[in-house]
């Protein structure tokens, strides 16, 4: 998929954000630099044989916690920042017509 103005608009749409023509151009320009610089990584000899690093700590162990029931936040707390509430629920427009 080529990175052009049309691709940027499609991605922005999927991300649920609108872009001005100026913002679209800014992204295009910045990506051109990133695309050029990424070759600095891709040209490193043997890069394809290195295991991708996803976590800082080599000795990190993912341990499951005990399954202990805890009190959940109150509905009132959870809805306190919501602008449109219907009783105990977040009010949204009709999703299924």
């Amino acid at each position: 998929m080529e990175f052009n103005e049309s691709t940027i608009d499609k991605l922005a749409d999927l991300l649920m954000i609108g872009l001005t023509p100026e913002e679209n151009k800014m992204i295009l320009d910045e990506f051109a630099i990133i695309d050029k610089n990424i070759d600095k990584i891709n040209n490193i000899k043997g890069i394809e044989n290195i295991k991708p690093m996803t976590h800082c700590l080599d000795d990190f162990k993912c341990e499951l916690r005990e399954d202990i029931a805890e009190n959940s936040p109150s509905i009132d707390d959870l809805l306190a920042n919501c602008k449109k509430v219907d009783g105990r629920e977040v009010e949204v427009p009709k999703v299924v017509e």
Partner: protein, 482 residues
């Protein structure tokens, strides 16, 4: 408020001052600094002093970066998408701190959600450097840096995903400490790049940094990446006995002869770094120049950009404007969400999301995201190989002093990128890393950074502590350059 934590504690214990008087002074000073530097999202005018105990932090006011959740207190991440968000819980790091009796008096501005290094993208405007208001503080912990440097209080919390604690510390002439990844719980810290995000602190002395991180740290069942540091006592074990330690710096970044067109200010910065290395050697520390493959150094900035954009795209997908944040306008849920996100995010953030989304697409992952993750391992392994021989890496911070906000003195040169961005190595490896001030260029502060291997925080702090004691920049308050 121009004193250290231990000095303030003595004054409180001896009844020379009350906690309420310190809080009142910090609030008054906050308003002055807000006028001059625009450092705060919120000033807590009704903050109350606390009981003074034997705990060093009791009764002392402090600031909180606005990406830490604080129950009942506006927490915006300096974004319009959360401009009216008031959390119902407090971040573990802040809960831990407040259990020691210290008192938050403000929430500090930052680059939106931590995505920036300039202090110019907060929804409430640009932060200005207290040494020279025509210059930037750097970011993302811009407000915390300005406030601590201006003497509002002895410390403020901060966070660091690329260099967001350690570069603003240098530009503002203070101490910035990013501990080993996971030493402080990230529960309640707004996520940006989860695999790099680290909580930390900005202070005016190494001792204060040790005291505050001792209080913030600890394993937390709510953060699976936190670890048990109960056997680490940073303040108690601080020592200037560092003779026999070994440090290295990277030749390709520090050697002036390596550059074809070095700006005069950067040349002075590198000269000043070498003078500081002489002081380090006078402490009995061996310092070696080590050569690192230029290809690896050139990959640092690109690796950070790709990883940062990719993880941020994912982390910010919960910002819809439905259950919190300002509700968008429209007739369908798609229109409402799009309106919220379009109006809420700044252009910089949108840029990162689009690029992040592109590099995560299946057809693009190998070229961009996976190779950035591979480069991350290569960079980290290269530095860790050196940590087998050395106690730490010592480097100058950035290319010099804080740049002008109008960008008139901004130098953009590919050659200088590794010098500007090498602190990101600390995030890739989760390494403990501290910046301390090491002098002035044109009356503006510059900094030096010490980074060590994971879990070796005590060693890093001890070296910084010993070096700080041999220079004259401890606990300095910003004096505006006329």
């Amino acid at each position: 408020m121009d004193k250290t934590i231990t000095e303030l504690h003595e004054e409180l214990k001896n009844n020379h001052v009350t906690s309420q008087a310190l809080v009142d002074e910090a609030i008054k000073k906050s308003h002055e600094v807000q006028e001059k530097c625009n450092a705060f999202v919120t000033i807590l005018d009704d903050a109350k002093g606390s009981d003074v105990t034997d705990d060093l932090l009791s009764g002392i006011p402090f600031g909180i970066k606005d990406n830490y959740s604080t129950k009942g207190i506006l927490s915006t991440g300096s974004s319009n998408t959360l401009k009216d968000y008031v959390p119902f819980f407090t971040a573990t790091a802040i809960e831990n701190l407040m259990s020691h009796g210290c008192i938050p008096v403000n929430k500090t501005c930052m680059d939106e959600f931590g995505m920036g290094g300039t202090g110019t993208t907060a929804h409430t405007g640009v932060q200005k450097n207290p040494w020279d208001p025509t210059r930037m503080t750097a970011g993302s912990s811009s407000g915390s840096a300005a406030a601590v440097a201006a003497g509002v209080y002895p410390f403020a919390t901060a966070s660091d995903s690329g260099d967001s604690i350690r570069k603003p510390a240098a530009y503002c002439g203070i101490v910035g400490y990013k501990p080993t990844y996971g030493m402080i719980s990230r529960y309640g810290l707004f996520a940006y790049v989860s695999s790099l995000d680290t909580c930390g602190v900005m202070t005016r002395s190494v001792t204060d940094a040790a005291i505050v991180v001792d209080a913030m740290k600890g394993i937390d069942p709510k953060d699976m990446t936190s670890w048990d540091s109960s056997d680490i006592h940073l303040y108690q074990d601080l020592t200037k006995e560092v003779s026999g330690k070994k440090l290295f710096y990277i030749k390709e970044i520090v050697d002036k002869n390596h550059y074809t067109n070095l700006p005069r200010e950067t040349e002075e910065h590198l000269d000043n770094f070498m003078k500081t290395i002489d002081i380090v050697r006078s402490l009995g520390i061996e310092v070696d120049e080590v050569s690192i493959d230029q290809d690896i150094l050139n990959a640092i900035a690109s690796t950070y950009v790709v990883l940062g954009c990719a993880e941020a795209t994912s982390n910010m997908s919960n910002l819809t404007g439905f259950s919190f944040g300002p509700r968008g306008e429209g007739n369908s849920f798609q229109e409402i969400m799009k309106d919220h996100r379009t109006k809420g995010f700044s252009s910089l953030i949108k840029r990162r999301f689009v690029i992040g989304s592109y590099v995560l697409q299946t057809v693009n992952q190998e070229r961009y995201f996976k190779n950035a993750q591979r480069a991350r391992r290569l960079i980290v392994d290269t530095i860790k190989e050196q940590f087998k021989k050395y106690d730490g890496l010592i480097m100058p911070v950035g290319t010099g002093v804080a740049p002008k906000l109008d960008n008139t003195d901004r130098v953009t040169d590919d050659e200088l990128t590794p010098l500007e961005e090498h602190l990101q190595i600390g995030n890739f490896g989760g390494f403990p890393s501290i910046t301390i001030p090491n002098g002035f260029i044109n009356n503006l502060p510059v900094g030096i950074n010490i980074t060590g291997n994971c879990y070796d925080d005590q060693n890093v702090l001890n070296i910084a502590y010993a070096l700080e004691s041999k220079m004259n920049y401890k606990n300095q308050i910003a004096k505006e350059v006329k």
